[in-house]
């Protein structure tokens, strides 16, 4: 029977991996993601999960181990945080290019500036262009669900891409929340067994990851680009099936909250969405017409869905939890893509961005009120004065 439990994001991800019948796991410790491996190690030790549990000697090894195992036909899981994610960077492109659908859980941690352990999306965001599917969970329930959804989409033969399944460190990975654990039969209905079109098999030998010629490189880039063009249809199918089987109400790419009559909106992903919802509730009670649009998949970026969702507002504030030093907007990464998505619209909302939740800082209600104030001012003045606001550090609004 389906049951409700109170689990941290890491524990929820472990439960999901167990129900997905993951076969090979490779670990290397770094907080905050480590709690995932602690849970899985316990499950394997207690005989609840029949999986190979391998200790990597670093994150590069972790990814290499799961690449091999996945290429041999095993459903795999690995994970990391912060500098662990960047230590394995070399492996991300060949895994995606080789079309091996490994899953990596990232519980965000700030990259060293030096030595920060708080949550910040920059670690995973730095890897966003390597061809992996990618998205953030807002809470432990989504951490659980996204694990299953990503296996389903990534392993689909029309897609065959690895997946970064991200959750904010601590805010999601360590703060327990209600998680509805489904029946195994529901998971089995949703997630077919993993197969690869050309697995490593001594009876039918194939070469994976061979040296290629430069004139083959473009074609392989094209294949990966095509997979990202094909993925949205598969994501839609998977989400529809997920909603039907598990009784959820997910929209595939962007989720809207209190946007019906909203003049302005936050564009946000991950843990701080929860605080934003509460801020919006309070602001609404004071008559501020504000809502939010939450991004569920960063890769493939849902250009059309973002444009459609945001086009109805007068002003949009992108909440950035990552840095893009020296970038066009002088702030984070999301505003670049949001603006690019809106560019061809006949009528575009005013857009700006807010640097918030960096280095593991909380984004309290008052910060969202401040952002709402800026958005109101932009609407009143009819223009974007600044493309980035460092919340709490601005000389003037």
């Amino acid at each position: 029977m389906a049951k409700e439990m109170v689990l941290s994001g890491c524990a929820a991800s472990a439960q999901a991996a167990k129900m997905a019948k993951v076969e090979v796991i490779c670990s290397y410790p770094i907080r905050p993601y480590t709690a995932l491996m602690m849970e899985l190690a316990k499950m394997v030790a207690n005989g609840e999960l029949d999986a190979e549990f391998i200790y990597g000697e670093g994150e590069h090894a972790q990814l290499s181990v799961v690449l091999g195992a996945s290429a041999a036909g095993a459903r795999v899981l690995t994970g990391s945080s912060g500098v662990g994610v960047t230590y394995a960077f070399e492996t991300y492109s060949p895994i995606a290019g080789g079309r091996v659908p490994v899953q990596m859980m990232i519980a965000d941690r700030a990259l060293d500036p030096p030595g920060d352990f708080g949550s910040e999306h920059t670690d995973a965001m730095s890897c966003r262009d390597q061809g992996w599917l990618m998205g953030w969970a807002e809470n432990p329930q989504e951490a659980f669900d996204n694990c299953l959804i990503n296996y389903r989409v990534g392993e689909d033969h029309r897609v065959l891409l690895p997946q970064f399944v991200c959750q904010d460190g601590y805010f999601v990975s360590h703060i327990p929340g209600k998680v509805l654990l489904p029946d195994q039969s529901q998971v089995d209905e949703f997630l077919p067994p993993y197969t690869l079109p050309h697995p490593l098999d001594p009876k039918h030998p194939v070469s994976h990851g061979p040296q290629i010629r430069p004139d083959q490189g473009t074609i392989m880039d094209l294949q990966r680009a095509q997979a990202h063009l094909d993925a949205p249809a598969v994501i839609k199918e998977a989400i529809a099936d997920f909603n039907r089987i598990f009784g959820r109400d997910y929209s595939p790419f962007v989720e809207e909250y209190m946007t019906d009559d909203a003049e302005m909106a936050f564009f946000i992903m991950g843990a701080h969405t929860m605080t934003a919802r509460h801020a919006i509730k309070h602001l609404r009670s004071k008559g501020v017409k504000i809502g939010l649009v939450k991004l569920r998949f960063l890769r493939p970026w849902p250009t059309q869905e973002v444009a459609e969702a945001l086009s109805k507002f007068k002003a949009v504030g992108v909440v950035e939890t990552s840095t893009s030093y020296g970038g066009a907007m002088r702030g984070g990464n999301l505003l670049h893509e949001v603006r690019a998505s809106l560019y061809d619209l006949p009528q575009r909302p005013l857009t700006t961005s807010f640097m918030a939740g960096l280095g593991g800082e909380m984004v309290p209600l008052k910060d969202f009120y401040y952002m709402a104030e800026i958005l109101s001012k932009m609407i009143k003045e009819g223009k974007t004065k600044k493309t980035v606001h460092w919340v709490g550090f601005e000389a003037e609004a």
Binding site: S207, H208, Q211, R213, L222
Partner: protein, 108 residues
């Protein structure tokens, strides 16, 4: 949709049937600057060249009882020359051969 010309097609993820003898998708012989040359009468069939070649470009011809060089794939690393126990192998400049690889005609 994209159009990929037939002659440029690459299998998904470049996952190819494992070569039983040769991999036609990856000819590396034109990387050579030097090639190993064998003097068969000095060779005692110690098989070091076969064992040490990273690309399996030395093979034993059991009928003739001699080792045979594969010009199509030998990159000219000369490890075999180094490992040869009887100095049967020596290096020779590629362009001194009539069929020598003209490296710049197609660089890869």
């Amino acid at each position: 949709m994209f159009i990929i010309p037939k002659e440029k097609e690459v299998p998904l993820g470049c996952i190819t049937p494992a070569p039983v003898t040769e991999q036609p998708m990856m000819i590396t012989g034109n990387w050579r600057e030097y090639r190993p040359v064998i003097e068969q009468e000095k060779c005692n069939l110690c098989m070091n060249c076969i064992v040490y070649c990273p690309d399996a470009c030395w093979q034993l011809n059991e009928v003739e009882d001699e080792v045979v060089w594969n010009a199509k794939y030998c990159k000219g690393c000369l490890i075999c020359v180094n490992e040869c126990t009887t100095e049967a192998l020596s290096k020779a400049y590629e362009l001194d051969f009539e069929d020598g690889v003209v490296r710049l005609e197609k660089p890869f």
